[in-house]
Symmetry: C2
Subunit: 466 residues, 2 copies
C-alpha cells in the first residue's frame, strides 16, 4: 500500500521561506489572513486549510525561483489557478506557500494555420475564447467555471463539450513544467502526433500539481462550426431521458453537448435564470456542423427522443436564446444552491459506462429521496458523467458522507469511476484505491516518490490515508 | 543526462532462466536458432539481435510467472507482439527472453451498447475488425501491418485513420499490465472519462515495453459510418498536394483518411498493385459520414483541390474499388522496396505541424535527389506525418545515416518530431534528447529507474547512448 503520510508541518522552514519570498517578491507576496483564506479551499464541504503565504509569480523563471527556495527549506508549495476546484486541491493541510499563477495570463502565440496556441497557465478559458474570436477558432473545453487552463490541465477537467471534443487530455499537445528537482521540462513539440518516448504530457495532466508546476501549455483549437443549434427536450422520467442519450450515442450522432437536468434542477433553473421550461426531466443539447448536418442531427435526435417518450422537443439557431440556455446551465450550481439557502452543498462526480447510466441515475435519485436529501442531479450524460448535489444541513453530515460513499461504490461496481472530471483531491483517495486497486495506486506513489521525494508539491492530494 | 548504460549480458542468469522456463513451458518454449532470429528485429536497417529464448505465454498468470523468474535471475525480458516494429523494439542487445503474446489472442468482451471491447494483447487489428463485423462497430487504428493491439499500444501506433479517429492513445480506455516488481495493475475502469489519479494508461501507451507487459486492453470502438467513399486526387507537384491538405484540415473537413503518395510512390504502386493511376503526386482520401455529409465533404475537398491545381479528382463509393486502393496503400512498403530489388530500406517517420508540411516534404525530397537516393515518400499528411523510405545499397549506408540525421533535425527545427508513430526504439535516442531536451529525457529515465531499477524490461530502447 502507498505511503500516505503527509510530512508534518515544518515551522522553521516556513518562516525562513516567508522571509526570503517577502524580500524577493515585495508587493507580489502576501501573508494577509484574507488572501490566505481565499487561497485555501472555500467551496463545498472540505474545510479551509489556508497556506501560510501567497506568492504571485509572473514568469517561469520566478516559478523556478520559488521552487528552489521551497526545496531548499523543505516547504510545501501549492499551485493555484483560479481556485474553482471542488476537491480541496488548493488546501495546505500542513501549511506552505500558495503559488498563484493568475498573473501569468499571456496568450503567447496563436497558430491559426495549425489550429493551436501557446498560453501561460493563468489564461482562463473565457479569456482564450475572447482572444480567438476573430480567428474562426475556439477552445472547446467548458467546465462551467471560468477556470485557468493550467488548473484545468492539472485536474484533467472536462465539462459540457467533452462528448464531442474530449477532455483536457485531448486538447493539450504539450506543456512546460518546473519539477520538484528544479528542472524545467518541455514534454512535446507542436506536431499533431508523436511517439517520442514516455507520454509526459499525459502524466502531468491530471497530476493535480503533485508532480510539477505547469508554466506553459500548447493547446489544440477547433474551427467554429458553420452552424450551431441548441435544443431542449423534456421527458416524463429521468430514465427515458437517459435511454434517449444512450441511443443517441450509439447511433453515432456527433452531439456537441448533451446534458441532463433532473426535474428538480429544471425547477431551480427556472427560478434562478428566469426560464419557463417544463418542470420535468430535461435534456439540453447542442449540435455543431454544417447547416445541413446540424439539421440532420437534430432530426435524428428528435426521432430517438420520440421513441423514448419525449414530451417536448424545441430547437433554436438563435444565438441569444442559445447563450441564455447555456448560461443557465453554467449557473446551475448556484441555482441549485438557491433551492435551500444556508444549506451546505456536497458535489459528487461519478461516471459510468453509458449503458449503465439510466440505472445509476435512477438508483442515485431513489436513495437520495429515501435518505431525505434535497439532491438535484445534472450530468454530462453523453459521457456517462453525472453530479448529484446534496444540499444538506449540519445534522445531515454523517448521512451525507454515507450516501457519497454508497454512490461512489455503486459507480465503481458498474465499472465506473468516483471522479469523471473533478479529480481525487483531498476526499477521494480511498475510492481511488477501491477503483483501480492498491497495486496501481502504489505505482502512482512510486512515481510521486521518484519525482518528489520530499513530498513538497501539493502534499495530501490524491494519496490519502485510507 | 540520463543513464544510458545497458546492463551487461548476464550469462549465468540467462542459463538458469532457460533451464526453468524449458521445464515449465515445454513445447511453448524454444531456443531454436530460427525462432530466436524471427523474434529479433529483421526489418529495415537495424541488425538482428536475437533473444536467447522465446516463451509463448497464454495467460496473465503465465506472464507473471515469467516476470518473476526473469526478475529473480536478473534477466532481460522483451515483450513480442507480431514483430512488425520498424525501430528494433524486439531486439535483445544483451540477450534475454522474448515473451511472445501471440497466443493471447482472445476477444474477451464486446460491449456494443458502450462501444468498447476488452481484448488480450495478441489480438490483431484485422482479427478484431473481423470479429466486430456483425456489430456495426469497428476499430479505427490502421498502421498498415496487421499488428497486435498490445504492440500497437506499446508503440503508440497510428496510421491512415488517425487524422479523424486519433492514435492508439485515443482508443485505449484502460489496460492491465504486469510490472517489473511483479504487481499486476489495472489502469482505469471502463467509464468513458476519468480524473482518477495519474494517467497510468497513457504512461504505458508508448512506453515500448520498458515499464510493463500489457496483458489486457479495454478499447474504444466506433460506429461503422453509414456511408464511406474513397477518392484519388492528382496534382502537378507534391507542394500543391500538401497545400490542399493544409487547406482541407483548416476548413474542418472531417477527413477519415488523407494520404500522400509522391510521384515515385505512385509509380511503385501502379507496378506492384496493378493500378493505372496518373504517375503524379497523389492524395488518396476517404470520407466517412451520412450519405449527404460524405457528398458534402467530397464536394468541399474537390473545390479546395481545384484551388491548388489538382489535375484529376475521382471518387467512388464502390467497396471493392475502395478496398483495392487501400490494399495498395498498405502494400506501399513492399511496392516501394520492389523499385530496387536487393536494396536495403531505411524508413523515416518525421511529423511536423501541418503548416510546415509542404516545405518539409519539398526539402526532404530535394535533398534525397541531391544525395542520389531512390527515396519514395508517403505520408499520413492530415497529421503532418510523412515517411521517406531510403532504398540504399551497402556503400550508401553512411550517407543515408547523414540524411536521416539531417531529416530528423529539420523536423525538430520545425517544432516537429523524429517519430510520429514508429517510436524511439534503438535508433532515435539521440534525436529524442534533441527534440525535448535532456531534462525531459532525464524525467523519463527517473520514472524508468523507479519502476524497473534493474533495467530488465526491454533494455536498450528509448534510452540510448547519445
Amino acid at each position: 500500500m502507498p505511503n500516505t503520510t503527509i510530512p508534518p508541518r515544518n515551522e522553521k522552514g516556513i518562516q525562513a521561506v516567508i522571509g526570503i519570498l517577502k524580500q524577493q517578491f515585495g508587493p507580489n507576496f502576501s501573508t494577509s489572513q484574507s488572501m490566505r483564506e481565499q487561497h485555501g479551499h472555500t467551496t463545498t464541504w472540505l474545510e479551509n486549510q489556508p497556506p501560510d503565504a501567497v506568492v504571485f509569480v509572473s514568469s517561469e523563471a520566478e516559478i523556478e525561483e520559488v521552487v528552489r527556495i521551497c526545496r531548499t527549506h523543505k516547504v510545501p508549495l501549492i499551485p493555484f489557478g483560479t481556485g474553482s476546484s471542488l476537491e480541496g486541491h488548493v488546501n495546505a493541510p500542513t501549511g506552505g506557500i500558495s503559488l498563484d499563477t493568475s498573473k501569468m495570463n499571456a496568450i503567447l502565440e496563436v497558430n491559426v494555420e495549425d489550429m493551436d496556441c501557446r498560453v501561460q497557465p493563468g489564461v482562463t478559458r473565457k479569456q482564450l475564447n475572447e482572444h480567438l474570436r476573430a480567428t474562426g477558432l475556439f477552445f472547446p473545453v467548458d467546465p462551467g467555471a471560468n477556470a485557468s487552463l493550467g488548473g484545468m490541465a492539472a485536474t484533467r477537467a472536462s465539462g459540457t463539450n467533452a462528448v464531442r471534443y474530449g477532455t483536457m487530455k485531448d486538447q493539450v499537445l504539450g506543456l512546460r513544467a518546473v519539477l520538484p528537482n528544479g528542472d524545467v521540462i518541455k514534454t512535446a513539440q507542436r506536431a499533431r502526433k508523436t511517439s517520442a518516448g514516455y507520454d509526459l504530457t499525459h502524466l502531468m495532466i491530471g497530476s493535480e500539481g503533485t508532480l510539477g508546476v505547469i508554466t506553459e501549455l500548447t493547446i489544440r483549437l477547433r474551427g467554429i462550426p458553420e452552424a450551431i443549434s441548441a435544443a431542449t427536450c423534456s421527458f416524463e422520467t429521468e430514465e427515458d431521458a437517459c435511454n434517449a442519450v444512450m441511443a443517441t450515442i450509439q447511433m453515432g450522432v456527433p452531439m456537441a453537448r448533451i446534458e441532463l437536468l433532473d426535474a428538480l434542477s429544471v425547477k431551480a433553473a427556472n427560478a434562478y435564470s428566469k426560464l419557463s421550461l417544463p418542470e420535468k426531466p430535461l435534456l439540453l443539447l447542442e449540435f455543431h456542423g454544417s447547416e445541413s448536418s446540424v439539421a440532420e442531427q437534430a432530426e435524428t435526435f428528435g426521432e430517438i427522443a420520440q421513441d423514448n417518450n419525449s414530451t417536448a422537443f424545441e430547437w433554436t439557431s438563435d444565438a441569444e436564446e442559445r447563450n441564455h440556455l447555456w448560461q443557465a446551465r453554467h449557473d446551475q450550481y448556484f441555482a441549485s444552491m438557491a433551492l435551500a439557502p444556508g444549506a451546505m452543498g456536497i458535489s459528487t462526480d461519478t461516471c459510468v459506462p453509458v449503458s449503465r447510466l439510466a440505472e445509476a441515475v435512477m438508483r442515485a435519485q431513489a436513495r437520495a429521496n429515501e435518505d431525505g436529501f434535497l439532491a438535484p442531479i445534472v450530468g454530462h450524460v453523453g459521457d456517462g458523467n453525472f453530479h448529484v448535489l446534496l444540499l444538506i444541513q449540519e445534522h445531515q453530515r454523517e448521512k451525507a458522507a454515507e450516501y457519497v460513499s454508497w454512490l461512489n461504490e455503486m459507480a465503481i461496481s458498474m465499472d465506473g469511476t468516483c471522479t469523471g472530471e473533478h479529480g481525487i483531491g483531498q476526499g477521494k483517495g480511498k475510492y481511488l484505491v477501491r477503483e483501480i486497486g492498491p497495486e496501481a495506486v502504489n505505482l502512482m506513489a512510486t512515481i510521486k516518490k521518484a519525482i518528489d521525494p520530499d513530498d513538497l508539491f501539493n502534499p495530501g492530494k490524491i494519496f490519502q490515508a485510507v
